[in-house]
Amino acid sequence: MTTSNEASQQTVDILVIGAGASGGAATAWLAEAGFNVKCLEQGYWQDPAKYASASDDYEFEMLTNWAPDPNVRQRDEDYPVNDSNSPVTPVMFNGVGGSTILWTAHTPRFHPSDFRVKTLDGVADDWPISYEELEEFYDLNDEVMGCSGINGDPANPPRSPRQMPPLPIGKDGKKLISGFEKLGWHWWPSDSYINSQRYGEGRDACNFCGHNHMGCFQRAKSSTDITYWPRALRSGATIETGARVRRITTDNSGRATGADYIDSKGNEKHQSARAVIMAANGIGTPRLLLNSASDSHPAGLSNSTGLVGKNLMFHPFAMISGTFPEKMDTWQGPLGNIGLSQEFYETDKSRGFVRGYTYQFQRSLGPAWIANGGFRDPVPWGEGHHVELEKRLGSVMAMAVIGEDLPEEHNTVDLDPELTDSDGIPAPRLNYTLSKNSRDQLDHAIGNAKKALEAAGAEDIFVDPMMRQSGWHLMGTARMGNDPDKSVVDKWGQSHDVDNLFIVDGSVFVTGAAVNPTPTIQALALRTADYIVEHRQDLKG
């Protein structure tokens, strides 16, 4: 879908870069408030009938053309990421909906303590906002995306009623949680942005196909192309797909004026705007800001502190899997939406580290995925192959450890001196090492996961101490804060350097908590959009 040339030449109020989780939310909110909003998205609209989940060859498609790692997928709309200096590879999707197309839609919230880690634990920095300030935007986002879940979780503050009841646990889920019950440890059914019943515009209930991470054929899994974007377009927002941004442009005073981009036919274009919102994720946003260096911003846009691209946080995942003696059809039901445990979430310094971790319970998939080492090592080749494959198929359950990865300035996204995308735009390069605190967290989690799996009856436990393809959560590379010398944006997501530049993706995270970040990213995007509506009417033409 492409806007007309006439429209692209008009100055818009707000230009949003990226149509994913945060870009969709911000665009809809601003368009509904009467702003003239245009979004540039380098990917395209997706047709659910063409998702990997709809193909008989879905195991091949999932591991290739629909692989979450852009360096594996290598679509025309993807850009390469040099990850040779990182033990974690980036995982993302480029298209309308962004990475919500391929996410598992497991949607826990930050805890109140996550916003106060400096005060409580003496590490990193406090956020300039609190859980309570964000709560109303979490609720608004839940309503639009649609949350299945249930209140009463003792590990979290009370919440507004969920839109839908929880997804079924399944016999495999019951088996796994039995270990936690025996040990007296916390577990709770996941909040998930997956319909347990019809909800939203033309969105069915989940049919438990088990393929939600390959794009949801049923439109039961929430992604912003089917939630926020229909609202945004109805309110007059426009989106140009196949539009790859080269740089954010600025005037002599250093204010943002729009973006130079390459359209889907390869034409160089410029879109002028009164303000720009960056929503290109924790790698794409710093890449673009660094690619936008100019006379007025010689170190890159909004980078007077030199902090753009620094403090990269992932959630390094350990994966602990168990093979159970029972056949449980573990390919049925959403892959990662059974439940979670936050028994070890809050700091207990007697453990030898600060902060904590979440366990996200996982099912497993089909024979090609199992053979190729889904959640563990590949099934050995040779004489023992068939016995081992049959042992694992339908019987492997796993626990992903999401540990809180604290910010460190040496973990960075910068521009690769040689690697470029297909349009010759410098590509991002990752430099990342796992901290001792994060390693200690993961090791602690591995020990406890083994206990839980054994208590549940698993017979063959396998530990991946850090999954390489696990960089879903891209955070911290343009952090927010009250001090312009120590942060890139203020508490509203507005650049300290450029008053008409905003950032709404995971780049602004001060710390990463120990949960999947998307509900927090979207709540922050809505909050920034709300700030613009309330305080920046000057940006409306």
Binding site: S53, A54, D56, D57, E59, F60, L63, T64, N65, V72, R73, Q74, H111, P112, S113, T119, L120, G152, D153, P154, A155, P157, P165, P166, P168, I169, G170, K171, I177, E181, H186, W187, W188, P189, S196, C206, N207, F208, C209, G210, H211, F217, Q218, Q332, G333, E346, G366, P367, A368, A371, N372, P378, V379, W381, G382, E383, H385, H386, L389, L393
Partner: protein, 148 residues
């Protein structure tokens, strides 16, 4: 689109011999090299970015070090594969991955392991509905999130 250059450079007899050792015969399903899946492996490896180049390189590297592979006895073939796996893990991985993918696409294999082998869309699967009673123990627990 098939990468014809890659296809021309692949020794499919060699590939079949390797497949026979990677995935042996079981029950009424022949070993992978005798299933006629080599052409599909070559086709897919030329079609998708993940395997383009690396699969061809894997086969050529293997062949250059094991030109007489098809003539060896099975123990020696296994030794040659293990040696390749040890010396060229990245190349070996690409070969093993695409071999497993294509093998487990085959209807004969599906029938044997009881796998439907087709997308579950749109009917999906059936699961027991949510049962609130499983939260009985957890609901008795006092809130333990850290208040600030």
């Amino acid at each position: 689109m098939i990468n014809e250059t890659s296809r021309m450079n692949i020794n499919e007899d060699l590939l079949a011999a390797i497949l026979d050792r990677l995935i042996p015969a079981v029950d009424d399903v022949p070993s992978a090299g005798k299933m006629g899946i080599t052409a599909e492996i070559v086709r897919l490896s030329g079609q998708q970015a993940r395997f383009q180049g690396i699969f061809t390189k894997a086969m050529q590297t293997f062949e250059s070090a094991n030109s007489e592979f098809v003539l060896l006895d099975v123990e020696s073939q296994d030794d040659a594969i293990r040696n390749f796996e040890s010396k060229e893990p990245g190349l070996f991985n690409s070969l093993l991955t695409i071999s497993y993918i294509v093998y487990y696409k085959d209807t004969r294999v599906h029938k044997r392991i009881g796998w439907s082998g087709r997308t579950p869309q749109p009917e999906g699967n059936t699961m027991e509905p949510w049962d609130d009673s499983i939260l009985e123990t957890q609901r008795k627990r006092e809130p333990f999130w850290r208040k600030i």
